[in-house]
C-alpha cells in the first residue's frame, strides 16, 4: 500500500513537471488572447477533475445509503473534500482569465461559471454539515444531502440558462476548434491533475481510516476502563 503511494507520488511529480513545461513553454501562444490563455491548461483540467470527484461523491453516497459500508462513506467524504479544493482552483483561475479577456471579473449570466459556483457552495455546505454534525449518523445525513445537491445541479443549469437569455453575457468561443497541439497539452495537464487528485485522495483516505480506527480504539478503551 505504502509502496503504491510512493510510486504514484513519483509519477505525479513527473507528470506535473512535464505539464508545467508544456503549458508555459511547449504550447503555442493563442493569437488573440496571448499568454493569458495558458491559464486554460489549469482551469479546465481542474474543472474536469472536480466534476469527476463530485460524481464519485454522488455515487458513493447512494451506495452508502444502500449498503451502509463505512468505506464508501470515507470515499464520499474524501472525494467531496478534494473536489472542493479543485473547484476552488477553477473559481479562482476563472476571474483571473476573465478580467483581461472579457473585461470583467465575473459574469453572473455565464452558465458554466455560475453553475460551478453553486456546485462549490453546495459542497461546502456538505462539508460544514459533516463538521457540525454531532450524532453517529453523520454519514447518512451527509449522503442524503449529497443526493439533494446532485438533484439540484440540472435545475441550477437550466435556471441560469433562462437567466442568460435575459441578461446577455460575454460571448465565449463556444464553437471553434482547439488547435491539436493545445488539445495535447490540455490532456497532459488533465492526466497530471488526475494523478494529483488520486494521490491526495488516497492519502486522505488512509488518514481517515486510521483516524477512525484510533477513535474506535479510544472509545473501546474508555468503555473498558469504565467497567473496571
Amino acid at each position: 500500500m505504502k509502496r503504491g503511494i510512493s510510486i504514484l507520488a513519483v509519477v505525479t511529480a513527473l507528470l506535473l513537471s512535464l505539464a508545467l513545461y508544456e503549458a508555459l513553454i511547449g504550447a503555442p501562444t493563442e493569437r488573440t488572447m496571448g499568454d493569458v490563455q495558458r491559464i486554460f491548461y489549469y482551469h479546465v483540467p481542474s474543472a474536469w477533475t472536480a466534476f469527476l470527484l463530485f460524481l464519485i461523491n454522488f455515487i458513493a453516497s447512494i451506495v452508502y445509503l444502500i449498503r451502509r459500508n463505512p468505506k464508501t462513506d470515507i470515499l464520499a467524504l474524501v472525494s467531496a473534500e478534494v473536489g472542493v479544493v479543485f473547484c476552488t482552483v477553477v473559481i479562482v483561475t476563472g476571474p483571473i482569465w476573465a478580467r483581461p479577456v472579457w473585461g470583467i471579473w465575473w459574469a453572473a449570466g455565464d452558465i458554466r461559471l455560475t453553475t460551478t459556483l453553486v456546485l462549490w457552495l453546495i459542497y461546502i455546505s456538505y462539508l460544514v454539515l459533516r463538521r457540525f454534525s454531532t450524532s453517529g449518523q453523520t454519514p447518512v445525513i451527509a449522503a442524503v444531502l449529497a443526493i439533494f445537491g446532485a438533484l439540484d445541479v440540472p435545475l441550477v443549469y437550466f435556471s441560469i440558462w433562462f437567466f442568460r437569455t435575459q441578461h446577455p453575457s460575454p460571448v465565449i468561443g463556444g464553437g471553434g476548434s482547439l488547435d491539436p497541439r493545445m488539445a495535447h497539452v490540455l490532456l497532459i495537464n488533465w492526466a497530471a491533475f488526475l494523478c494529483l487528485a488520486w494521490l491526495v485522495s488516497w492519502t486522505r483516505y488512509r488518514l481517515e481510516v486510521v483516524k477512525r480506527e484510533v477513535e474506535e480504539a479510544q472509545a473501546l478503551e474508555s468503555l473498558l476502563e469504565g467497567s473496571r
Binding site: L65, V118, L121, I122, I124, S125, V128, L129, F132, S133, T134, S135, Q137, V140, I141, V144, L145, I147, F148, G149, L151, D152, L155, V156, F158, S159, I160, F162, F163, Q166
Partner: protein
C-alpha cells in the same frame, strides 16, 4: 390510521398549539415587518427603479422570515422526546413530514399575505404585467422554500448550532428556486417579459424535491 388521517392529526395539532400560543407567528410577523422597514430605508427607490428590484427584495425578505419559521419546526417535537415516541410508533414517517411541511406552508403563506401590502405601500408597487400570475408564483415559490426547509431542519436537528445550520444547507440548494421566484415576480411587476419559463422551472423544482423529500425522509428520521 391511514396516511391522510395521520397527516391531518399532526397538522391539526400543530395549528392548535400555534393558535393557543401564537409564539412563532408573532415573532415571524414582527421580524417580517422589521425586514420591510429596514429594506425601505436601505433602498430608497423611486417607483420605476423599485419595480425592477422589488422581486428580489420581496423574496429575500420572505426567505429570511421563512427561515425563522422553519427553525421552529421540530423544536416542539424535541421537548419531551415526542420525536422519539413518533419513531417507535408504527406510524410511517412521510405523513409527519407532509404535515410539518404543510404547516410551515400555511404559516409562511399567511406571513406573505400580510407582508405584501406593506411592500406595496413602502415601495409604491403596481404590477404592469398580469397581476394574477403572481398567485401561482407565490404558491410554488413558497412550497419550494418550505419543502426543502422542513427537510433540512430535520437534518440539522443533531448538529451543533442548529439554528445557523439550516440557512447554510437551504440557501445553496435553493438557488434555482430563488432565481425562479425573483425573475418571475420581476417579470410580472415590470411587464417586460413573460414569467412562464420561470413558473415552469419552479414547478419542476417543486416536483423534484417533493419526491426526493418523501423518498428520503424516513432515512433521515431514523438517523437521528
Amino acid at each position: 390510521m391511514s396516511f391522510f388521517a395521520i397527516t391531518r392529526a399532526t397538522l391539526e395539532k400543530d395549528i392548535r398549539l400555534e393558535w393557543r400560543s401564537k409564539d412563532a407567528v408573532n415573532a415571524m410577523l414582527f421580524f417580517a415587518l422589521l425586514v420591510v422597514v429596514i429594506f425601505s430605508f436601505a433602498f430608497d427607490p423611486t417607483a420605476e427603479e423599485s419595480r425592477r428590484i422589488a422581486g428580489g427584495l420581496i423574496w429575500v425578505a420572505f426567505l429570511f422570515a421563512a427561515v425563522v419559521a422553519l427553525n421552529q419546526t421540530w423544536a416542539r417535537e424535541l421537548r419531551n422526546q415526542v420525536l422519539d415516541a413518533y419513531r417507535v410508533s408504527p406510524a410511517p414517517a412521510n405523513p409527519l413530514f407532509l404535515a410539518k411541511a404543510l404547516g410551515n406552508f400555511i404559516f409562511v403563506a399567511i406571513l406573505e399575505a400580510l407582508m405584501t401590502p406593506l411592500f406595496i405601500v413602502f415601495f409604491k408597487l403596481r404590477a404592469l404585467g398580469e397581476t394574477w400570475d403572481l398567485l401561482p408564483i407565490a404558491l410554488l415559490g413558497t412550497w419550494a422554500l418550505v419543502v426543502n426547509g422542513t427537510f433540512f431542519a430535520a437534518m440539522s436537528l443533531r448538529t451543533r448550532s442548529r439554528e445557523i445550520m439550516l440557512p447554510l444547507l437551504l440557501f445553496p440548494i435553493s438557488v434555482p428556486a430563488l432565481l425562479g421566484m425573483v425573475n418571475a415576480t420581476s417579470a410580472v411587476l415590470s411587464g417586460e417579459y413573460s414569467p412562464r419559463v420561470w413558473i415552469a422551472l419552479l414547478l419542476a423544482y417543486d416536483v423534484v424535491f417533493t419526491i426526493a423529500c418523501l423518498y428520503l425522509f424516513e432515512t433521515v428520521l431514523e438517523a437521528e
